[in-house]
Amino acid sequence: MAEVAILENISINVHEADFDVAGLQRGLLSGLSEEGAVATFTGYVRHANDDRQVFTLELEHYPGMTEQSIKTIIDEAADRWPLLAASVVHRVGRLSPGDQIVWVGVASTHREAAFSACEFIMDYLKTRAPFWKKELGPFGETWVSARQNDACRAARWQDDSIS
């Protein structure tokens, strides 16, 4: 059996409050000594989705399963790339256009692993972590539908040629 990489520096937080990306990045690096690269992604609430104006976004999740599924995704990333630390923050509750909604940070010795793992975690988070968005706007309210494009982006990681 292949040896499985165990990444110990993992942080996963799901909460309503806003977050400070500079502080998160400092936290990601704290205690590390071999870091050479950090890649981060910040997602924001869009002002319009499919040409529909959005006033408010409501984020629901499945407490417990959410954290566990993100942990599984990070473990998979750590098995593919040599990572030093990984952190995911995802907000829930009521959000407004322009608000920060998700942050992913990955530290590694070199940029290639950091870039790839950050994108991998984000792609899998969108298709596997149990969050659901409801949009409220002039049209009323509607649950956001899953996008085929997100499934395609996650599925391409199954193709070994790009990992």
Binding site: Y62, S69, P130, F131, W132, W143, S145, A146
Partner: protein
């Protein structure tokens, strides 16, 4: 005891966030539990719980096939996820 949870659109359509059911003291699998819920709650529940894109999780792990359940399990039904 079994805990059954519903999330997002599924929770709203069923007007139910969850149920607690007594363990039947016999073998029970996921599809049989689902059939019991549909029988007990009527056609509207059947229409929703049997939707093609319904996702089922047992003890917070997604399952794509039928599986045996055990006393104390947590079962969840929810639509495709849309986080990030």
């Amino acid at each position: 005891m079994l805990k059954v949870l519903f999330f997002a659109r599924t929770r709203e359509e069923l007007a139910c966030s969850g149920l607690e059911l007594a363990w039947p003291d016999t073998r029970l699998d996921l599809y049989t539990l689902q059939e019991q819920l549909c029988t007990e709650h009527g056609q509207s529940w059947r229409d929703i719980l049997t939707q093609d894109n319904m996702i089922r999780a047992v003890n917070q792990k997604v399952v794509t096939d039928n599986c045996e359940l055990n006393d104390g399990d947590e079962i969840a039904f929810f639509p495709p996820v849309t986080g990030g």
